[in-house]
Symmetry: C2
Amino acid sequence: MHFVEDDGSKKYRTDYNSHGSAGHRKEEFYGKELILADRETVEQEADSILKEADVCDVAFLVVGDPFGATTHSDLVLRAVKLGIPYRVIHNASIMNAVGCCGLQLYNFGETVSIVFWTDAWKPESFFDKIKKNRQNGMHTLCLLDIKVKEQSLENLMKGRKIYEPPRYMSVNQAAEQLLTIIKNRRLQGEEPEITENTICVGLARVGAPDQKIASGTLHQMSTVELGGPLHSMIVTGSMHPLELEMLKLFSVDSCSNSENNAFKRTA
Amino acid sequence: MHFVEDDGSKKYRTDYNSHGSAGHRKEEFYGKELILADRETVEQEADSILKEADVCDVAFLVVGDPFGATTHSDLVLRAVKLGIPYRVIHNASIMNAVGCCGLQLYNFGETVSIVFWTDAWKPESFFDKIKKNRQNGMHTLCLLDIKVKEQSLENLMKGRKIYEPPRYMSVNQAAEQLLTIIKNRRLQGEEPEITENTICVGLARVGAPDQKIASGTLHQMSTVELGGPLHSMIVTGSMHPLELEMLKLFSVDSCSNSENNAFKRTA
């Protein structure tokens, strides 16, 4: 059992935690057919993937680092229980590639996930984690929600395997949700640690040739144009002068000397 | 200017934040001579590296992710100021590869560095950061000190460029320092959050074919045999059952059902 790119004779590919658009190019690269394994396959048919491992090498390709998802730990545990040797080949992931915006990896606190709000469910728990990080002077990497192969409530109830189109949260949407929470907190009499003017970084398609990075206030993040998925956002904590200088390279403010420059106002 | 593996016609290689032993294999792989750039070269002669970028492509290879070190942000800033386009190719780094031990990356707090103590300088600040992470239920990745091209005080004072042999902190040494701090704190009347029995993970040569992972108590980490550098250590916070199950795969306890098993005692 191999995790990620190797010469196994049977290859599974997954992209349920990301936005995999490179399937065809990968098949060309490996010169072999890849079997697309969606979350259902990996979670519910893990043993059938592993069953083949006694007759041939099985490789399991993922986007990002293989241990970003608990699902893959589960696969390792199953392999070990079945006496199947495994090997991991690591890869860059958003967890370290965010360093490209200039914020130091050592200055990040706990990573949070920002989920899509629904009419009935508007959790704010991620906000409190970001607040805590910022109180400790730490930056927060916010991973933004992905909805792939989701069923509508109606289709789920009726047991129809009809899936909604995939949705990827944008930096704009994440910023909007944070701004709403800030308003809510103010109504509750709290003056939150994080405001419209807190310096944030929006990142899109990190590592791809068309990656985009934009730094500015949280308010600016709600309208910044970053293009297609995947997006991530960082809420900064305390900044070292070198970090600040790097962030200025990606400032959304056209005029970096203006009095309205986000970095002058709030840094 | 390229960061990391590309087809630039001039290639610099650095390993001052790691333990680069693959220089020759790399030259074979790229079919080109690599110029070894030590910390001095990169920090003091950065502009001479960049100067060549107008006549040829310059590639700069690093171990781990390029933005693990502030030195590389500085190089980017210099390139931008000189109008030199740059491109980053990301790579796995210990910051995400630690996931191979089974602890979830999302459950890590701030990363700390444990430095070599000297007779005169025994800082304990990293201990307080680990404590804070653990109080928040988070794991702590401890990066262990590296001393490469260090001069003795005598040679430094006399201006002699004679360097001490490189030193890499082992998990044993890091654990010993933490155990000493715990003793100190007890003498001061504090009952520290982290004790001899706190579950830790020792990692050696992560990603290499001979990588080693060992989980057990902090006390066990002070004697565990992990072989040559580089080492890292994790002090765990609260553990999810799946994380615990993964850690058991790497338990130093020979008899995992014994009453003395670290995971039974303190998990």
